[in-house]
Amino acid sequence: MIPDALLSLLERLCNVVAVSGDEGEVRQIVLEEVRPHADEVRIDALGNVLAIRRARNGDGLRVMLAAHMDEVGFMLVAEEGDGLYRFETVGSVDERYLVGKPVWVGKDHLPGVIGARPIHLTTPEERSRKLSLESLRIDLGPGRKVELGSWATFATPFRRLGSAVLAKALDNRLGVATVIELFRNAPPQLELQAVFTVQEEIGLRGASVAAYALQPHLGIAVDCTPAHDLPAPEGRENTVYNTRLGAGPAIYRADGATLSDPRLVRFLEEVARRHNIPYQIRQPGGGGTDAGAIQRARAGIPVVSVSVPGRYPHSPATLALLEDWENTLRLLTQALKEFTVEVLEEKRS
């Protein structure tokens, strides 16, 4: 079971606005949560939070856990008067998700909406075509003025759906909450470097400088990856599910940014099997996590990614199962406990 306190931490993290470049609200929560448990906390030039818990014994292994704080969203880029603003997307957001949604704008989370031409005034032909970003506006109501350059996100309040959660930005507040929890329970035999990164959604930018600065022996990106486990049309087999909800943490072998270190994959699989923790291998394919940037830092760092599967990331509402999150936490907690330098002394394959 996920403890209530951890679930409410996730809720707080999901309900703030922290689009790439504007991670302040998540950073604040992260600092509050990690400071009491850290030997050292710093915020670097880009805004990454680097929290370090030194080894109390052991062989000097340094392990980096990275979770990105930023979420996809919008920036207000032009004013059209009377509370109407043009906006651009930040990170990858399918335009088809924008229409008819409420948004929160800026530090004060001002409510706004993205409306559409009434159906009564459209033709069937028009309704089969996408509404382009250029034609949409964020409407804050007559008379409202906000600073251009303000960020905005979908206004979807966090909610429980039975044993699932539905929220915006579960990608990657699930990762942030996971790394906070792992950091609070850091094992004694290694140095744990918890890195909460900025600007992942626009090109893994925070993680690259964090890895350079901290020089870990290995890195694990903790993220939320899409589960496309919907029924396929006409009774066909779904061959493109990426991951499935309920099948446990997703371990990456290859994505668009990274080839995982086979020793780390093997180690995680062994830990999972030994402790009867369900896991799945994410289908190799596109996409990427902070691991891609960490891997290429300095002379190279062995990495792997572990994600909680979530349906519909980068949309107004992502859905994840608490059991998958719990199993992700179990796997990583156990793996950290058992890590020694020997894992990296094995042959790569």
Partner: protein
């Protein structure tokens, strides 16, 4: 000024799809009971609030109708715990992906409308708009639990919470036409201290978005001397700026066309002018798209008119209305009703 806001927010937070209006109807009945002489429900479920007049019986009657039903979705199929849906009322499929909803099964189940990626759709759809029959509702529950709690034909309502925007405006789903139900409530409040000659019935009608059966039967039950439909009309805003649209928050709108009796229209205009309530005229050369269309041809025929409230983004879950316009519509109707006298019965005769 914003006395009506808490009640309106209640209305926007309650389901009440066409044909399934009970949740919202009960809240309206409760609010109207303390404002009217008598409240009745019709056989199809419309709520009628009566204020009795003082003219000698048989008194003429005015019926003011605002539909309370909302558009939404209905379950058509269940596959591996995911729901297929169809639209109840006019729903643009483009607003659906990512929309939070409540599925009204054996219990109320929150969920979300989702859009499969291209590889899980018929090849012709690609990255274009996904037709409603290829979208899913995901409840996040195991398939077995979904099978137990949901069946084909269950209704699905939008779950977007109302939001107060700047400039005393409010955003939410079903402001079409709960904004007008709020206006009728403002009218009832204004009538509390006033004496009426005619009997007056304020009605929250059912099923406008699909069949208009509510207004039609309400008009038959009450056989009014005249009837006015109160509804929303298109406000100017992104994507809507032509002659069919009106400024948000700058006044109410009076329709003109074949559904409109000229004497009522004229009286509404005069009353608005005397009360300094700003108004615009909307030209509806054919069907007014309101309950007036249905009420006009009830029984031997009823003189009808339409009072409208401008609303942005109609039939999306983020419709926007200015509270001021709701207030204006309510005050205008109250004054109009108070001025009805014996002479106005004559004025309705064509000559």
């Amino acid at each position: 000024m914003n006395e009506i806001l808490p009640f309106l927010k209640d209305l926007l937070s309650l389901p009440g799809l066409s044909g399934y209006e009970s949740p919202v109807a009960m809240r309206i009945e409760e609010a109207w009971s303390s404002l009217a002489d008598e409240v009745r429900r019709t056989r199809l479920g419309s709520v009628h609030a009566w204020r009795f007049g003082i003219a000698p019986a048989p008194r003429p009657r005015a019926l003011i109708a605002a539909h309370m039903d909302a558009i939404g979705l209905m379950v058509t199929q269940i596959v591996e715990g995911f729901l297929r849906v169809t639209a109840i009322g006019g729903v643009d499929p483009r607003i659906l992906p990512g929309q939070p909803v409540i599925v009204h099964g054996r219990e109320s189940l929150p969920g979300v409308v989702v859009m499969p990626k291209a590889a899980l759709l018929p090849p012709e759809i690609k990255d274009e708009i996904v037709p409603i029959e290829h979208l899913w509702v995901d409840l996040g529950l195991p398939a077995t639990e979904v099978e137990q709690k949901v069946q084909v034909g269950d209704i699905v309502s939008f779950a977007t919470a109302p939001m107060e925007l700047s400039g005393e405006t409010i955003a939410g789903h079903s402001l079409d036409n709960r904004a007008s139900v709020a206006a009728l409530t403002v009218c009832l409040q204004a009538l509390r201290s006033r004496t009426l000659n005619w009997d007056v019935i304020l009605a929250a009608t059912v099923q406008e978005e699909v069949t208009m059966a509510g207004a039609r039967t309400s008009a038959f039950v009450e056989q009014p001397t005249l009837a006015i439909a109160v509804d929303v009309t298109f406000a100017k805003g992104p994507g809507a700026n032509d002659w069919q649209t009106f400024e948000l928050g700058k006044g109410i709108v009076l329709a003109w066309g074949p559904n409109i009796h000229p004497a009522i229209h004229r009286r509404l205009k005069e009353t608005a002018e005397q009360m300094e309530i700003p108004y615009k005229v909307e030209y509806t050369p054919r069907h007014s798209g309101t309950d007036a269309y249905a009420m006009q041809t009830v029984a031997e025929g009823i003189p009808t008119a339409v009072v409208s409230i401008p609303l942005r983004y109609m039939h999306t879950p983020v419709e926007v209305v200015a509270l001021k316009d709701i207030e204006r519509a309510g005050r205008l109707l109250a004054e109009f009703l108070c001025r009805l006298d014996k002479a106005f019965v004559e004025a309705l005769n064509w000559s």
